[in-house]
Amino acid sequence: MRSVSVVGIGETRFGRFPETSLKELILEAGTKAIANAGLRKEYVEALFMSNFSGQPFSGQGHLGPLAAEVLGLGHIPTIRIEGACASGSLAFRQALSAVASGMYDVVLVGGVEKMTHQSTEAVTAGIAGASDIDLEAGIGATFPSIFAMIAQRYFHEYGNVRDAMAMCAVQNHENALLNPDAQMQKRITVEQVKNGFPIADPFTIFDCSLVSDGAAFVMLAATDVAESFCPKRLVEVVGCGQAGDSLTLASKGSMTTFAATVRAAHQAYSMAGLSPAQIDLAEVHDCFTITQIINTEDLGFFVKGQGARAVSEGKTAINGQIPINVSGGLKAKGHPIGATGLSQIYEIVTQLRGDGGPRQLKKADIGLTHNIGGTAATCVVNIFRGR
């Protein structure tokens, strides 16, 4: 396989933009990514588009040609990829594989989602379609309730970590204050999180990621080709893993360790020849506060059962041992589903290039992204190294 690097990134601000169309979001983020790579768009050989809910929420399908037309990419091949909240990372992995194989030298990956023009109930129902519609959504399960059951089981096995869960939200909000693209620009406290509007015990509204509109794009190129034109620090994709698990919660071997994460992470670390201790920063899928804690354990940053204490001790904060979600994460930067995985990559590349501005980490040479779909039924882990 050929070495592949990220050469361009672009994203919209995440937020509530009910009047902004899918096309406008695509145009802004896609144009930024192409310009950021310093390449003319004629060099883009294929487009991989991620989107979860264009059809049900906006009546728009066939996102591949839509995006290619908006961006003026001509007759290149396009495809739309869907894997619930992991859609963006899945599109990235397909694009990576297409360049690594030698099929293309330069490809564009994009993700877009428009959600806030729908009611909360409609969004909840739409997302619940990423669970089993007969055995879960059909009996009243929502994603908050599924992950709330995971939290209750975690409490049973490892003790009540309610305060540390709240601290995840507090930290991610704190980080988002330094990110101009973040939807949430508001400091919150542990008490506010715990006393917020109840969603599914033990979650309040502050334990849940945001409903967002937004788009994010990433340009990939074969590293040897990229060296000839890319003016910025090359960010090489050194590891990529993907694994799956049962769609339903009840069929999982464990509720408190996500098998798909463990397997995808193992693949990514093996491919990169790196260990968890060598990662400088990570963007980790925090769809709910408990999920961030479980994920940091499954990724090997902390021993199982110690993820909550690590948060409370500040180990995951921006100045901690392993900064988690410096961008603000799904909780505070936002979670426009199809764009999320690419937004995580946007943050890692920004940090590895040293372009993080007020949120720039002192040491950022190796970064990791972790993205799950559904009840951790799909997982992609990527590892990036600045050259």
Binding site: E121, A122, G138, G140, T142, M149, I150, Q152, D201
Partner: protein, 73 residues
């Protein structure tokens, strides 16, 4: 003999999709029944119900799609 299950995990749902809005708050649980785990609604919840992992729940009926429903007490 009455069919029973044990709560493996649970949650009280306060915010639902439109289809279940009249039912909130309601309890969903993963129930272990005859060594199999399945997700089910558990009826009979009040604010005084102290739910815990391991708690016994009684099989009540199947819904129209064949999904089992359990009950507290």
């Amino acid at each position: 003999m009455k069919r029973c299950g044990a709560i493996y995990s649970f949650c009280v749902v306060h915010s639902s999709t439109e289809a279940f809005q009249g039912k909130t708050p309601y309890v969903l649980a993963v129930v272990e029944d005859n060594r199999k785990k399945l997700m089910a609604r558990v009826e009979g919840y009040t604010e005084k119900t102290d739910i815990a992992v391991g708690m016994e729940v009684r099989f009540l009926a199947e819904d129209e799609k064949g999904n089992p429903i359990y009950s507290f007490g």
